[in-house]
Amino acid sequence: MALRGAIVVDTERCKGCGVCVVNCPTQTIALSKEVNSKGYNFLYMEKPENCTGCTNCATVCPDAVITVYRVKI
């Protein structure tokens, strides 16, 4: 049984601190080249196929901008 996950990022509230990126065990997420209205490089899923929905990124996020979804397949 495998786990597949996905995250939804509130890009307007994300401050691009990058703490989640180093704590992602599957190297799924990265900071985008684009910026939000405040000028921060927000978080996005660079390799969405890697995500297992482990919630590590959302756990360490200081601004609570990440929502995590997970399914068993």
């Binding site: 996905a6 601190c17 929905g53 590590n56 756990t59 360490v60 200081p62 929502t67 995590v68 979804y69």
Partner: protein, 253 residues
């Protein structure tokens, strides 16, 4: 499997708790305050005590904590949060009262208040954020600043003969009879965040059982004050803060 099939309400495993308001936190990117706010909100939601909790916000970066958690708040004068919490808890003993204080507030100007509140064994929870610097005012030396640490007021590093030694206030408080639970935690990675959440939950539960003061120190980062990036600040904290401020429970009864 397509991402659209995964992102459905029934598959949601983690999201922002409703106790946390929608307001954007004013903290710098990567600030530990945000994580601790989130943990307190999650504990309040899990325990179902949103309408029974009263927070006392300090002076410092977290002075606006009352904008972010959807509970009752009172704002104290600098360092006086434990005194205000004492009054609140004694007048309303069925409420959960906690103070949220930084190291400048708790360990410097508020030392007398916290010592005596803990010594009296008031049934309150104290959340102490120790980032070894005065963040709000521009990165000056705090009582908890490490020896050799460069700040705005110690440009050549803190020296013991001129500035004194860093204050281990949590160790002092652990010796007081009035405290029932004294612990030091951190929030730099998922494992540490989960441990801190357990500690905060235990502190709130102790408050309901009238066991005495529960004191949770969270060793934190201030990347703006330390003049570094959030990720490097976490690393610096692990390498420099943890040897001097070791994590773990100091007292649990």
């Amino acid at each position: 499997m397509d991402i659209k099939d995964i992102i459905k309400p029934e598959n949601k495993v983690y999201g922002k708790t409703p106790v946390l308001k929608d307001a954007v936190l004013h903290y710098c990117p990567g600030c530990s305050h945000g994580v601790v706010h989130k943990l307190i909100a999650e504990v309040i939601e899990e325990m179902g005590i949103q309408d029974k909790t009263i927070g006392i916000s300090p002076v410092g970066c977290s002075v606006f904590a009352y904008n972010y958690l959807d509970i009752d708040w009172q704002q104290a004068a600098h360092g006086r949060a434990p005194a205000l919490a004492t009054a609140t808890k004694r007048l309303m003993p069925d409420k959960y009262v906690f103070t949220y204080q930084g190291d400048g507030d708790l360990a410097s100007i508020g030392t007398a208040e916290i010592m005596h509140a803990c010594n009296r064994g008031e049934n309150i929870v104290v959340i102490f954020i120790n980032n070894a610097i005065y963040g709000m005012t521009g990165g000056q030396m705090a009582p908890t600043t490490l020896l050799g640490q460069v700040t705005a007021t110690t440009p050549y590093g803190r020296q013991a003969d001129l500035n004194g030694y860093p204050l281990k206030i949590t160790e002092l408080i652990a010796q007081l009879e009035g405290t029932c639970y004294v612990t030091r935690q951190s929030v730099q990675n998922p494992a540490a965040v989960r441990k801190t959440k357990k500690a905060i939950r235990k502190a709130f539960e102790n408050s309901a059982m009238n066991k005495g003061t529960s004191f949770v120190e969270v060793v934190s980062t201030c990347n703006s004050g330390w003049k570094t990036t959030p990720v490097k600040a976490n690393k610096w904290m692990e390498e420099n803060m943890f040897p001097f401020y070791p994590l773990g429970d100091m007292k649990d009864r």
